[in-house]
Symmetry: C2
Amino acid sequence: MSYTAAVEEMAFVLERVAGLAEAREAGAAGALDADDTRAILSEAGRFAEDVLAPLNRVGDAHHAELREDGVVAAPGWRKAYAAWVEAGWSSLTGEEEWGGHALPMALQVAATDIWNQANAAFALNPILTVGAVEALQAHASDALKAIYLPKLVSGAWTGTMNLTEPQAGSDLAGIRTRAEPEGDHYRLFGQKIFISYGDHDLTDNIVHLVLARLPDAPAGTRGISLFLVPKYLVEADGSLGARNDVACVGVERKLGLHASPTCTMAFGAKGEGAIGYLVGVPHAGLRAMFTMMNNARVQVGMQGAAVAERATQQALAYAAERRQGHAGEVRDAPIILHPDVRRMLLTMKALTQAARAICYACAVAIDRGRPGMADAAFWKARADLLTPIAKAFATEVGIEVANLGIQVHGGMGYVEETGAAQHLRDARVFAIYEGTNGIQAIDLVRRKITLQDGAVLAAYLDELREVAAAARGTNAIRLTDVAARLDAAVGAVDAAAARIRHMLAEGHTERVLAAATPFLRAFAVTAGAAYLCKAAVQDEAASAEPRAALARLFSGELLSPMPIMLDAALEGGEEVLAAPLS
Amino acid sequence: MSYTAAVEEMAFVLERVAGLAEAREAGAAGALDADDTRAILSEAGRFAEDVLAPLNRVGDAHHAELREDGVVAAPGWRKAYAAWVEAGWSSLTGEEEWGGHALPMALQVAATDIWNQANAAFALNPILTVGAVEALQAHASDALKAIYLPKLVSGAWTGTMNLTEPQAGSDLAGIRTRAEPEGDHYRLFGQKIFISYGDHDLTDNIVHLVLARLPDAPAGTRGISLFLVPKYLVEADGSLGARNDVACVGVERKLGLHASPTCTMAFGAKGEGAIGYLVGVPHAGLRAMFTMMNNARVQVGMQGAAVAERATQQALAYAAERRQGHAGEVRDAPIILHPDVRRMLLTMKALTQAARAICYACAVAIDRGRPGMADAAFWKARADLLTPIAKAFATEVGIEVANLGIQVHGGMGYVEETGAAQHLRDARVFAIYEGTNGIQAIDLVRRKITLQDGAVLAAYLDELREVAAAARGTNAIRLTDVAARLDAAVGAVDAAAARIRHMLAEGHTERVLAAATPFLRAFAVTAGAAYLCKAAVQDEAASAEPRAALARLFSGELLSPMPIMLDAALEGGEEVLAAPLS
């Protein structure tokens, strides 16, 4: 179960494949130069290897536990979190005014990759805190910012997202938690479920961002406001005051991510109401929360690719050691020599690298889309387009790769002590939280490929075609069919998107929704193949170790069937709606 | 978590799709008429619903536990097993001489389907016992038969398969357990791992079938003999005597199937040696064990399809109840109305039914291939061909469908109390045990599609083509493209198989092995599509509720991309072998 952060590979993908180098030229990388990227990721890698990775199994075995006075972290976790904060890892992206380093989101996502490779249950907490920081930076009053942002940016306190209620999951219109005005603050009453890190003892305060309704709120999603509710109230001098009327009243027993407490949070259960402060303007809470959600989505996608990376490393190590049977001429061969095992391992690598590149590219687009950047609107739209793909595809990859990792281990994969099964159990939730993958697919077909009448999509597909052209431009025979398959797939995605826009215009929304998931898959596999191809093209140019094999494998079995699959899926929409189900 | 055995559907598939009706005409269904099938499955269904299904979560939560004097079953399990034996469910297929009903394997497999739908951890035990009965019936001496078979057939005792050792998993050539002759018996010394139900307190004796080496045994797989080692020795009058020197010394903590103890078995740990009796002739143990393994493989495939059925039922029930958002015009709609949820549910149904039909068809072929049947050699070869497909594809389906089932549940799917996650955890091992799915794929490409120079495969593919022709013959427009896709896929499998045989003849074995898994998948999806099509054809003929929708969906998204995928996989073999892996 040894783990090594593959820093060179990550830095290469970030700079050269996902486009951080170009973003830097456009001024969208802050003060980060290419050497910084490598240096920071190396440091992060060491911390992850030394401190976080050894706690991964510990957290799985011990769980976070709800006791009388709150949730207690697994053994060793308090110390690890303190060390992580001490080393400054919480402050990468926060604004300088609040003590942050204002580094690009792309770097944050690469760091998220590393934390999650080492310990996904640990790494979820910072993702939520970074999201809370972003939401508060964008929407909170100066007074709230001054009190809460320094503590959140430093990691002294952590942030949570309180959205879901029993009757309001994917559809937040049903939210019932209410906020009653009282002077400069509000008192909140209600219950939230599935709140990750809703309570813990890693820090001495927790800052909840909570969706709730004001008394005069209109029904539906346009009547939801965002509130900041601290676990402990904060005095004017910044010291902690009374315990607020908010508490964790239950922790779910989950398939995985055992060390990440999934809390049922009661607001106002004592009758006082939880004191909260309005963030942004009344009734506009959902939009403010989506600032946070969107960036959290690419980070959740990253979780999927990261656990895939860890599972791949573990399977590779096992396959290099475990001996069984003979392979070709080799007797008592390490199973890594068996063709069927090789194919599983190569598939794991290809899927992981494709998913990672998509997540990194999405993060780079987020950076380039910030207000004030050149072509900010173009890049903001690009980020919007890639977010559902990054989230849904990379989390599917997390599951698929972890599943293959178990298979590589044979019988040992089914035994918990090996750790291979934990990756599948942990990764399984990524496809569900932060908007289920079905929600992502719907977002893609309804809102993203239709952006600017399809121009946003068209620009992206042109970029993928350029990758194919560049592959042909190398004159490398091994990239010839990669380029051809990529062109064919891009064409198919393009045609399918046009057909979808037409169907939407004609009012056949339900038929489109029935094909949303296969469309997302086909699009993502196409994008992933393009990034693998782009990496291989750069290898050719540098005469370096060729990444062509992964591009070839991925474009063969995974990409080349996509056009036909996509056609069938679009044809089949009617069927999905009409077929008897009982 | 309610569960209902879908008896009508199972009986229909067994009789009309998998061919039990035809087998009956050929005399291969024993005394079983079609009404019997339905009646027996109904009875089994009731037992499964009332007794086994309620214990499924209990077993998951409590595990089977190793105590000082052996393994103790989960609460309620002893009583359930006793009731199951009392009702006669253990004796379906055993020979009449030993108290069995000599009913067809096809019925046994359908019963296995039901037991596993209700409670997969419970159902594994009888699969092993049925296997032991088959091995002893075929290979044991009359004396051994007379002592052990009545008890095993009745279920009073259970059987186990002791193959794996730490260094000998997929490759049994490395087996080291040794058997020293002593008069009419042997004393065994060694350790076996991963022994399902190696110990338990459900019965007062356990009959281990153990692979071991005689002192004069040649190295490799031709030096392995099969022994019967009882937990308690049996006196001449049939009463239980002394405890044998065999014991469970450890139970694995596994991802799933918690109530099924996976034991490390020590033979001869006390120094006496475990007393065992030779089954069959010396050094021919592996072949004798394969008698048992082969039929166990179709049953394990059945486990996959059965858990898929249970997961589908549970997801359907949840989706019919859980309300969220609006679907078309319906506000606060049950999520079963959402197109993306429908597509998951329909995919689950289609995969499950395809996998079930393949397993049933394999079982029917086993029945028709028994010595003395008409065209026994033809059907035996058919069973040999279908066994790896049934095992590998249906177990993959178990994982895929259980995974989708979690997704349908959204956040609730990740919470253990819902039970959706258990199905994935339970199903995961089916792809590993009884020969990993990689081993199945290798078996298919190396030994099965080459049987009789490909004639066995050709006959089967002709049958699939006849299904396509029958679909066209209905003149139903909705089956037109199903038939066309089926023809195309059969053609692709045919061509790929020819290419594989050619590559093998040319000595490119490793390249073939690199494409074995995709070939198996393509073949299985083609066969599954054919069975769904066959079911739909019969609906057309009967003007009954059309199963066409599932056939259309399956043949569209799943089947139609297969020819291209298969081509790419065969092209990619070289790549898999050569690609750098580290």
